[in-house]
């Protein structure tokens, strides 16, 4: 069972209090974008074995969306962070690097 700390209310929320909201840091391509970009925005998702970045919502709690960095293989959580950001904070990236040198995920490494 996954336990994530909500960065907004500070609660260590057990998985059933949360709702998974898919991949983190998606860039939206809307009307007038080209078909390939729109298709990738809608359908193309990372499915890594290892380091992954996700969006979660503290659904049965404060209601806020937040981000989480974790490993899909060990379930280790590297940290949770604000939804008001375009990329993972440096301290979380450093933590991942310490464990998985040379990791990369989309444009982040």
């Amino acid at each position: 069972m996954l336990t994530l700390q909500c960065p907004y209310c500070g609660v260590w929320a057990e998985e059933t209090e949360l709702h998974a909201e898919g991949e983190a840091h998606l860039k939206r391509f809307g009307p007038d974008s080209d078909d390939a970009d729109f298709e990738s925005y809608l359908f193309m998702r990372e499915n890594p074995k290892g380091v992954h970045f996700e969006r979660w919502r503290h659904a049965s709690g404060c209601g806020k969306f937040f981000h989480a960095a974790r490993s899909t293989t060990t379930l280790e959580v590297f940290g949770t962070y604000s939804a008001q950001t375009m990329e993972p904070p440096q301290d979380i990236k450093d933590k991942i690097t310490a464990k998985y040198p040379g990791w990369s995920w989309r444009e982040f490494s």
């Binding site: 209310c9 500070g10 059933t16 209090e17 659904a59 049965s60 404060c62 209601g63």
Partner: protein, 188 residues
């Protein structure tokens, strides 16, 4: 004017802890910048209470104020005082980017009392209800079985559970089952 009644008309259950629907309660959702002096003044004027910090509930002579999220408060007053309290808050926040809404009729409130009240809740919510983690002045939003709810601790040791009125019967039923004699856990 029609007579307002609470969802379950004050139903009670005496199990290994006591479950009671408390009846009508005034509840006002307030959203805005909780760090602003306007918000602190509004809350003070409406309830007499200080601004609560994260996951706390404070009380004053006219009511209580609960921290619901970084930009949301719940103001709890007497049911009959709700509209006047909305007016006070709205006036105090008229120059701020804020929202004030009377949600009294959208809610139900249950009180849990008795030595084993913590066990009743611990069976239903993924929350640490030990006395070291949760007590008077704390509020925790979570779920009760399958529906969203919030619980706070009163000074007299009792807990109050709030949920949406539409699921009041469900919440009462699961609290009742959880408090059923024979289901004692004796953990807390």
């Amino acid at each position: 004017m029609s007579k307002a009644v609470s969802a379950l008309d004050g139903v009670t259950f005496d199990g290994f802890a006591k479950v009671e629907e408390t009846g009508l309660r005034g509840m006002i959702t307030v959203r805005g910048d909780l760090a602003s002096k306007e918000m602190a003044a509004a809350v003070k004027a409406a309830t007499g209470a200080e601004m609560p910090v994260q996951r706390k509930i404070t009380s004053g002579d006219k009511g209580a104020v609960a921290w619901m999220s970084p930009d949301e408060l719940l103001v709890v007053v007497d049911y009959d005082a709700a509209n006047a309290t909305v007016a006070t808050l709205t006036d105090a926040l008229k120059d701020s980017h804020a929202l004030v809404a009377n949600v009294s009729d959208a809610r139900a409130v249950f009180r849990l009392s008795g030595d084993s009240r913590r066990d009743v809740l611990a069976k239903l919510a993924p929350v640490d209800f030990s006395k070291y983690a949760f007590g008077a002045g704390d509020i925790r939003r979570s779920r009760i079985a399958q529906v969203s709810a919030a619980v706070w601790g009163n000074d007299d040791g009792s807990f109050e559970v709030i949920c949406f009125r539409s699921v009041a019967q469900y919440v009462f039923d699961v609290l009742q089952v959880s408090a059923q004699p024979g289901g004692e856990v004796g953990f807390h």
